[in-house]
């Protein structure tokens, strides 16, 4: 049901699985995970944003994950 609502709200745009995972019952996962991700990828760090994105891409590749 909630998924249907999300699809209706976003009907003009293709809804990616990432977006579904982050918006569906966001209090369980999407909100805390996004806050965590933001801090790690964009928060203060000795690593540049580009380097951090590269680490993330490498790990995704290792996990055979497209994201």
């Amino acid at each position: 049901m909630r998924l249907k609502v999300i699809e209706l709200v976003l009907k003009d745009q293709p809804v990616s699985d990432i977006r579904r995972t982050l918006t569906y019952r966001a209090e369980v996962f999407g909100h805390p995970f996004s806050a965590y991700l933001q801090e790690i990828l964009r928060g203060p760090s000795d690593w540049s944003v580009g380097e951090r994105e590269l680490f993330a891409a490498f790990v995704s590749r290792k996990n055979q994950c497209m994201y």
Binding site: E27, V28, F29, P32, Y36, E39, I40, N63, Q64, C65
Partner: protein
Amino acid sequence: MSMCQTLALLFNIVRLALREMFGSQEMESCNALAPDSLEEERAGFLCMRYAEQTRILSNAVLSSPGETNPTLRRAVETQAAKLSGRASSPTSPLPDEVERYVTKVALHAYKVTDRDIQALAEAGYSEDAIFELTLSAALGAGMARLEIGLNALKGDADATQSH
């Protein structure tokens, strides 16, 4: 060098120094709390910079109101972490169909297909329940990898041997 640049530089030095001091103090006090215990490895990890965010995320996934019992979600998290290399406390047994699914999510999530979801649905799990089980398994698998990585950075031989 302009005044502005100097201030920015000073600010950064102070910030870095504070972080170092705060970080090392935090580490010591946490080690003192759990010496030689089974939880030592996890305690060390939880003292790291992102401890608060980790705690919030774990609580949201494992304890938010939902269709599945938080006890089951915790058991799923523990099992997925164990499969991913966390040396941890014994795991409580999971129902067969859940065990199969958790193993797949933890070890090779890219192999999960609609058929796996269908199998759980046929065993009586609602879509929301499957959503919660998936998140719990992914959390355990992800956190175990993070802990192993951080322990390897600390030069922990056990962590590198088991993987």
